[in-house]
Amino acid sequence: MEKITFKVQRYDPDKDKKPHIQVFTIPFKHGMTVLDGLIYIKENVDNTLSFRSSCRMGICGSCGMLINNLPMLACHTPIEELKKDTITVKSLPNFPIVRDLVSDLSLLFAKHKSIKPYIIAPDMAEIEKPTAEFLQAQGQLVEFVQFAYCVKCGLCMAACPTMATDKHFLGPQPLAQAYRYSADRRDSGAKERFRETDTPHGIWLCHLAGACSEACPKGVDPALAMQLLKRGIISDSLRLRKKPVPPSVAPPQAEKKPRVAVPDFTIKKPGAKS
């Protein structure tokens, strides 16, 4: 049976002063992902190994790790694609280590919250108690929907060179989300978000190294979002930004076309004749 070697970062806060590497050699099967390897280690070799995982299908963002010196989702990384006999797995850089491969993501969530990641509409009563859906054309959706696919895995923050030194820098994920909401035609909170991001530790510490977009497992392209945010902020600074049109809601029920009658379903009741 084929074997694969895992060099896994271990850190027990009760015993260790700094992380160290532990080597495991496990059986390899075609189609195995890095997460499968870690689960095998935990179930069969060392049940003290700690890591986060949940959906195992690249949608929750829990299993972000540094795999062979690149931030990746462990569930989304087939071992064969790495083309190496040795897989080195460490926790995400630029995030504090809780234990083994588990990172402390609380700063990411706090920064994300600071950029107001929700629709701020002029008519907040409509947001709180909606009467109908907001109207949005397909072209308007395409302007921001790419950035809405973010799963908050933190890989972009781990890849960013500015995050390596500056703990106050907002980071690619919050800045990309600031653009996502500012570009949404249903939103009118762009100026508030520009105030939050046009700061000494805000958008201008992004120097387009592009590593965030490279690391993103969902194709969100945070680098593109950040440059478009810069364009928005500069237009706003120079007072060239077009005044956003307030969003409109769908017309009331009475003005819609009459509903087509739905044919009766033939649901047989027990004992009824066919």
């Binding site: 929907v145 969902k218 478009l228």
Partner: protein, 150 residues
């Protein structure tokens, strides 16, 4: 209460300056970012030296000539060429950064369809053209001003 007091603070794990300097397995744009910083430092150091050297004008022709004699050392000639190359790189890459910071040449957002291709990768041919232009100018300066001695 006892559990809270035993809770450990997570271990800091920032890469520090290594995160700026080491681009590792990331793509060309990460290396261009590091080089842009290095050339910026180099140009700043050159400006300081240039201002000090020009200050010798205040002592008239003799002061100026002795400074120029000191700077005709081959080490300074190599340094001057490196400054020229750094200026060419910093200026042209800076032009690319300016355009891209303003959202130009990166394309429009579009819904991600696997396999994902980000804007950096879509626009990579532009980066290769830019690097070719930088190399061509650096070689031209080397031949025209350094080797032929103009």
């Amino acid at each position: 209460m006892e559990a809270a007091s035993k809770q450990k603070v997570p271990l800091p794990n920032r890469l520090g300056i290594k995160g700026w300097a080491w681009a590792g397995r990331y793509k060309i744009e990460r290396y261009l970012y590091t080089l842009h910083r290095l050339t910026g430092f180099g140009l700043l150091a050159y400006i300081a030296l240039h201002l000090v050297a020009n200050g010798s004008r205040l002592w008239g022709e003799s002061g100026w000539e002795s400074t120029m004699n000191f700077m005709s050392n081959p080490g300074f000639k190599v340094g001057e060429y490196l400054v020229m190359a750094a200026f060419i790189y910093h200026a042209l890459n800076g032009g690319r950064l300016m355009l891209q910071h303003l959202g130009f040449t990166l394309g429009k957002p579009k819904p991600p369809i696997y396999p994902y291709v980000d804007s950096m990768r879509r626009r990579r041919p532009l980066v290769w053209v830019l690097l070719a232009l930088i190399m061509a100018l650096a070689i031209y300066v080397l031949v025209e001003f350094v080797i032929s001695g103009d």
